[in-house]
Amino acid sequence: MKVMCAMSGGVDSSVAALLLLEAGHEVVGVTMKLWGGDSDTGCCSVSDVDDARRVAQQLGIDHLVFNFGDDFDTHVVDPYVAAHAAGVTPNPCIECNRTVKFARLAERADLLGFDAVATGHHANIGRESDGTLTLLRGDDPAKDQSYVVHMLDQAQLARTMFPVGGMHKSEVRERAAQIDLRTADKPDSQDVCFITSTGGRTSFLGDRIPFHRADVVDLDGARLGEVESVEMVTIGQRKGIGLPGGGPKRYVVDVDTTTRIVTVGADSDLLRNDLVVHSMAWVDHVVSGDVRVQASAHGATQRAVIEAVDERPGAVTVTWAEPQRRIAPGQSVVFYDLTDRRVLGGGIAD
């Protein structure tokens, strides 16, 4: 097959390209230029592009850089900023996968005659006896990334490959080291590519939206203090909400950016019996009933029952088996089968 391998300049996608070559595919490496501003690896992440290009040279494959900066701004950065302004906590890496990597890049790969797009994600694609494609967790439990690619449907899975999904990270690094790829020891990328570790989220958002002071109140409405920027407060947050130490632990249980009120309470006040998830994407068909639910990239899963919300297309109600801490609006919520291995679908917390 002719495969376009998305190469980020990290070790996983480097080895993905290697494995594709070994499997006899015709491989072209592509690095997407997404963010034009500062990053931890230089403007436009130039050193990551250098790493990807050098690995492609070592492997003897062509390497290209595609500029999807406009798409990234429109579909990832701008919504990220707008969501924070509205008190919502989005996951930009998932939106990038949804709108850029498995959409814009995949469409271009199709246009240019490629049969599939491969990435270095730790996830697996299986096939049922009836031909249905399944999206499964990666074999390395510590590195599994099925959560961030949960939005792939049957048509997308048919044109997607995750060559390192069946490997543990240590094996990936070993393979890279064996042929002396320069990315063999490169640390895993952390956090959001357009947020620098020096400036952080506050600096990034502060340059783009006005911050507003907000009152911090308890559940009875009594004023306890204030925060400088309500836009930076997230449900479940405990630190940095301007309350003196020493007392009982208090958590943010609600954020209202309109009235500019942050409500805090005890841990138990965060507990909820249910949750509504909207903008659902299903891997195959719509599912209801018993599932396991994951609400952060590497979080544990919880039992729940899901069912469609009648009057809201694309929304489901999640009823927890046991009360769970409230999930911040905007977070991606992904449903797995009861083996906790197969992705059923996912959406965004109300």
Partner: protein
């Protein structure tokens, strides 16, 4: 077989220039600044090359400074002027990044261009006048001779008149990196104080630039050290590169009249061929407004990156706009400044011809580009939107 339509990015070296380099790589390797016979031979080669370059440029040999590249020459002109004289640097918005970024780095002033990519002389006069009224001196005005993307040509005599009238103390620099193959530089140099060239654009080697300081040094040097180039540019001479530069420049100068005619015909054949084979191919500039080797078009219904991929697969070398540090194509600041709509600029294709271009290259270029565009349009399933008045100019 590779069809090379990217001469504006880098021209193939001329065989004579390669041959001229070899003795200075193998045998005459001494440092031209040394004090022995061996060094003097190398020094003689540098000085003779300087004479030959000056003759083509129409300046005094002592006004020729050899640098490490065109970008260094541009940087030296602007930064050197700002350091020596203080004040503001000014340039139009379509300059090469080697000028534009430097002017912006120094907090300079960027002026607009007309629809053909030439500096807007009225706006230049207004901006220079406003700076003078505000009590600010202008150290340097930099206006490119030929634009690297679309091939437009500035009238430097007219630019000079505006600068002399509104900023009499300012130096005038021209980035002539794209001009050597197309313009008689003897007609350009007299209008400017500073002129930059890059050898690899006209069949010389990479790693050699020229800065002409017309009428003697009036700017600070950028590189300080051993005092080479009459203390204008320190650093050991690239003897082989300098010799090859002189050879390539002389050959380019001698061939220019016939090459301009030959390549204009081939360029016309290329663009006519594309327009005959495809709908929605817009020639960015009228042929009368650009140099002979420039064939810049915007093609409806495709994206440059996709087209370049298919051309690359078919061994046709072309480009779109300039690349950023990551190697990604940047949206063209030149087309944006000219007022080309963003939608149209997405389909930009720069094909540039030069001394090795043949009729076979042009015929194959037409075939491959037409096939690639057709494939992309068919796949996208969207027929190009045709508009009779859509052409910018031709």
């Amino acid at each position: 077989m590779v069809t090379y339509l990217d001469h504006a990015a880098s021209a193939p070296m001329r065989d004579e220039a390669i041959e001229a380099m070899l003795p200075y790589l193998r045998d005459q390797y001494a440092n031209p600044s040394g004090s022995h016979r061996f060094a003097r031979q190398a020094r003689q080669a540098v000085d003779e090359s300087r004479d030959r370059v000056a003759a083509v440029l129409g300046c005094r040999p002592n006004d020729v400074v050899f640098t490490g590249c065109g970008t260094e020459s541009d940087n030296m002109a602007i930064t050197g002027a700002v350091q020596r004289h203080g004040g503001v640097a000014v340039c139009p918005a379509v300059e090469h990044h080697a000028v534009l970024e430097v002017v912006e780095h120094h907090g300079g002033t960027v002026v607009g261009v007309d629809a053909a990519g030439r500096v807007d002389l009225d706006e230049l006069a207004t901006r220079l006048g406003a700076l003078a009224d505000a009590g600010r001196t202008v150290s340097i005005v930099s206006v490119m001779a030929v634009n690297n993307e679309v091939g437009s040509v500035n009238d430097l005599a007219a630019v000079r008149r505006v600068v002399r009238r509104h900023a009499p103390d300012a130096l005038l620099h021209t980035d002539a990196v794209q001009a050597a193959s197309w313009l008689d530089l003897r007609q350009v140099t007299p209008h400017v104080d500073l002129l930059s060239l890059s050898a690899h654009k006209f069949g010389g080697p990479k790693g050699v630039g020229v800065l002409v300081e017309n009428g003697g040094p009036r700017i600070d040097p950028l590189l300080i050290g051993g005092g080479q180039e009459r203390e204008r540019r320190s650093g050991t001479h690239n003897t082989a590169g300098i010799v090859a530069t002189a050879v390539a420049l002389e050959l380019t100068d001698a061939d220019r009249p016939t090459e301009n005619d030959r390549l204009a015909l081939l360029r016309d054949q290329l663009v006519d061929g594309l327009q005959a084979a495809l709908d929605g191919v817009h020639e960015t500039l009228a042929r009368s407004e650009k140099v002979a080797g420039s064939a810049h078009v915007c093609i409806d219904g495709i994206e440059s990156e996709s087209l370049l991929f298919l051309l690359d697969e078919a061994d046709v070398c072309a480009s779109a706009a300039s690349a950023c540090a990551s190697g990604a194509m940047e949206p063209s600041h030149v087309l944006a400044a000219m007022g080309v709509p963003h939608e149209r600029a997405l389909g930009a294709l720069r094909m540039s011809l030069g001394h090795t271009t043949t009729v076979d290259d042009v015929e194959r270029g037409v075939d491959v580009v037409a096939a690639a565009v057709t494939r992309l349009r068919d796949h996208a399933g969207s027929a190009p939107v045709l508009s009779g008045s859509g052409r910018v100019s031709s």
